[in-house]
């Protein structure tokens, strides 16, 4: 059975791109979120195998969302999607419970490597 994924990013462009990469690799994107609040809410609803999380989102950022999700489910598998130069935020996200990260601009191979590592 294909792994389920929740894609969180405030830009449709990024959501689409990540979804495409994952779907082509055989994953099932079960939901999308545009804000941190939505991400937490949808995680509860969908219990996906994997979450991709943008760091900067309106209405509760990605790090805050990671914290919330991990509070609910300490085993949540969250992959951070970050821009260059956000290392401090990525570190904070890892401390908050994120399992791995990819840096934009995305290369499909690197995204999939990271996903594999997270799903272990």
């Amino acid at each position: 059975m294909a792994h389920t994924v929740l894609v969180c990013d405030d830009a449709i462009f990024m959501r689409t791109m990540i979804s495409d990469i994952l779907v082509q690799a055989g994953f099932e994107v079960v939901g999308e979120a545009e804000t941190g609040v939505q991400a937490v809410q949808k995680y509860r609803e969908l219990s996906p195998d994997l979450v991709t999380m943008d760091i900067v989102m309106p209405d509760m950022g990605g790090i805050e969302a990671v914290r919330e999700i991990c509070r609910v489910d300490p085993d949540a598998k969250i992959l951070m999607c970050s821009a260059m130069g956000q290392q401090a935020l990525v570190v904070e996200a890892i401390q908050a419970g994120a399992k791995d990260f990819v840096v934009k601009p995305f290369q499909p191979s690197r995204v999939l490597e990271a996903v594999q590592r997270v799903l272990g």
Binding site: R67, V90, Q95, A96, G120
Partner: protein
Amino acid sequence: MDLARYAALFLDESRSHLRTCTRLLLEWERDPSAAEPVDGLFRAIHTLKGMAATMGYERLAGGAHEVETLLAGVREGAVPRGAALVDALLGAVDLLERGVELAAAGRDADLDAGAIAGLVRRAVPAAAPAGRRRKTRSAAEGPAVAGAVGLVVEVRIRPDAPMRGARALLALRRAEALGEVREVRPPAATFEFDGFGGAFEFRFLGRASEAALTAAIREAGDVETVTVTVPEPAAGRGGTEGRGRHIRVDLARLDSLTGQVAELVVARHRLAELAALAPGGELEGLALRIGRLVTGVQQDVIAARLTPVWQVFDRFPRAVRDLAKQLGKQVDFRVEGEDIELDRAILDEIGDPIVHLLRNALDHGIEAPAERRAAGKPEAGRVVVAASRERASVVVRISDDGRGIDRARVLAKAKTLGVLEAGVEALPDEQLLRVLARAGFSTAERVSAVSGRGVGIDAVVERLRALGGSLEMASERGRGSTFTLRLPLTLAIVRALLARTGAERYAVPLTFVAETVEFDALPRTEVQGREAVLLRGRALPTLHLDRLVGRPAGAVPRRPGIILEVGGRQAALVVDALLGQQEIVVEAFDAPLGTPPFLSGATILPDGAPALILDAAVLV
């Protein structure tokens, strides 16, 4: 590994980081739009947090974390900048400073973490919660268990990998999943900084095999190499580059060394005297050689004691800021010459006297903003502490552009108190200081919480004299005052010129000797009715050593004179004979009552006889 060994290092570095914070906060207060202070603050607090966590000081690490979170909020724009924020941060830095001392004293649990959290909460508006983070102290930084050795793991992240620091953290997480990780170097808290190159090492304790550990770490991705070694049990922490270049020495041990070198110096002189009795012999050559070696050791010991003044001066900006706030005054404060070096023992002693003078300057010198405006001055008073080298001494000037000292009032008060005779109508600077330095003398109209009653300059003068230094002052009504502290470079050993009157010998520190002359060959003159000599067209007041020490004048022909110089003023001191230069060891001098003020100490000469040390600052 024994963490206590690192406690002193922790204390030192933490203090330095918090000093940096204070400095940055004061800068920030001046220019709230500046971004750099926030980043610098963040970094300093972040480092403190990492160190505290490594040492196992959980309360302190927690407090630092609160402050760090607040700063993160500021950086992200979630927390408004302004005076209230700076106040809160200064308060938090104070609490952290206290926390550092407590933690180092083994009392981390006494730290009032709630107070820090409270300060932080008040600085953050309700609408923008600072976002309490999950406890970030990782097991990797937990306190060590003594005795265990484990494996030493070196990990290198691929140099072309993005965000090597974040990747390194993931690698560390993988290791932590298998066992206990400690002694992470560089500390995990520093991974996210730009300087982190991607290589780190740590000690691993656990059941996992080397192969399993290596594989797990590689699973973190972008890992170039993992090297696992079993350390020699006694190998300690050696092998890191840069270590061992500096060692910390207990000041008491250095003091003991200095004292012994001082005695060695005296013994060398005696040896030279004995060797001179048998010229040309083997003893003379040996004495010369020992003499050179002792001089070398002495210079090195003095150099080892020298400390840049900023180590003490760094606390002045904060003190001045707080005082100014308390007094409702605006002050533009500057410190100059921070890199000038001074004997640690002297430096430790002058901090309080300088703070005392600064307090006076702010309380009595600098006027309220309205008064300054009315006087045509900028609203912010200017206060400067400047250190500089002059000859063999270090000079520290504390100047303000305030109202200066009201001589008429000092004069009147001095007469009422009977400090001055009724006839005196003018107070030159040096006399003004002498009057002000009378214990308990004060013209302050009110007793302020800041300066207390009176100026208390007597205490400052006493302190400086005990150090072999001096205090001078100059003041101009409406323009401000300047206090000048003159200090020997080092306490223990002073190069001095020995002079004789009758059979008594005296030492004059070379710090104050401009030159020596043949006194009786100089033309005589008078200055303001006082005896003087002309040296290259300049009239110098004359002082007779025999008269000063209450001896009858001897009938010595061709008497030499020592030209004393203190702060640009000169005088000629007439003596019976000069006995050459020598290093002297200044002995603690508990002057009996009635000792003339120009005698500042005593020393033992190589032949075992005592000599008194003349204080040129009082004579000139």
